[in-house]
């Protein structure tokens, strides 16, 4: 961000991104921890079956499904919400960069960042 007349310094921008990433990870970890505690409380005594792959039920592989199970206060739904928050952290970081490049009127990097953002959204929503 060393362009002339930048509305913010490079250091400010780097601090913002750094803090943002840290907050995202802490938030995601906290949600997973809470969900994990509930999950273990309810299912801790069962033996997991991860050596057989059966795919996760529809409820945990769509956004709407996750939120509806999470709102039912079920441990696994809350864990999935936390994992989703974790995946969204770098995606939101890209959005943040997009806004910063736009403020700098650096259209070349606005378009680069927009491509990356589009690919990430495609992966999460459409694929």
């Amino acid at each position: 961000m060393s362009e002339h007349k930048a509305p913010f310094t490079e250091q400010q921008f780097e601090n913002l991104i750094g803090n943002f990433l840290r907050a995202g990870v802490i938030l995601a970890a906290s949600i997973v921890l809470i969900g994990g505690a509930i999950y273990l409380y309810r299912h801790g005594a069962e033996t997991p079956e991860h050596h057989v792959f059966h795919g996760e039920p529809q409820a945990w592989s769509t956004l709407a499904g996750i939120f509806s199970t999470a709102t039912l206060k079920r441990g696994q739904g809350i864990i999935m919400t936390g994992l989703l928050a974790l995946i969204l952290t770098p995606i939101a970081r890209v959005a943040l960069c997009l806004a910063a490049f736009a403020l700098e009127r650096d259209w070349m990097y606005v378009s680069f960042t927009a491509i990356v953002f589009g690919l990430l959204l495609y992966s999460l929503l459409a694929a």
Binding site: M80, T89, L120
Partner: protein
Amino acid sequence: MPMLTLAFGVDLRYAIGSSLVSVIATSSGAASAYVKEGFSNIRVGMFLEIATSIGALTGAYLATHISTKWIAIIFGLVLLYSAVLSFRSPELGSGKTAHPNGIATALKLDSTYPTERGLESYRVQGVPLGFGLMLGAGALSGLLGIGSGAMKVLAMDRAMRLPFKVSTTTSNFMIGVTAAASAGIYFSRGYIDPGLSMPVMLGVLTGSFAGSKLLARAQVRTLRIVFGLVILLMAGEMIYNGVAGKI
């Protein structure tokens, strides 16, 4: 991830999903510190993320279509390669090549980084080669659920001649986005299991926190050799299991 499949017998697909989750967690956690120190080159990262995201989407798509046997074999080979890398000493330096590079200048990739002697500037080289290697790094990441940081560093360090610290920290910065690109696909295919990812994510975060404290006191040489041996063993077992059709 090989630990999960080999030691605990977890299905490879669940292991890939959980591994991606842990990769995003550590990358974002570590990047938050490195970015602030001013080592990471955000423009280089953003530009190359185009390549890694395309690669990751391709890799993740492939992973859902080829048999786990082949994934195990490819994974073994990648492990083998990183074992070899960890036995060799890193070549430090590069960076200050004087000639400005046309593409790098057009893309505004040249920058500065902090050293003991204050800010030092560097010029970026070999942009097309670096971009190509990043496509590969992204594909491996999407296929195997790894960060493929080693290959990213290779691309930036060797091909683009970035200073070592800039390569490693920028690689870390990019890993989160690369992993998020494939995580979306894994997520919607049901490869991410809450019961498995929860302990993996929390464990990895605790481990990396403890590790960064330990690292300051550890002998780097011994560390590299132990790490290399462990990886070598895993690589052998992974390839054997893949060929023998046990995965």
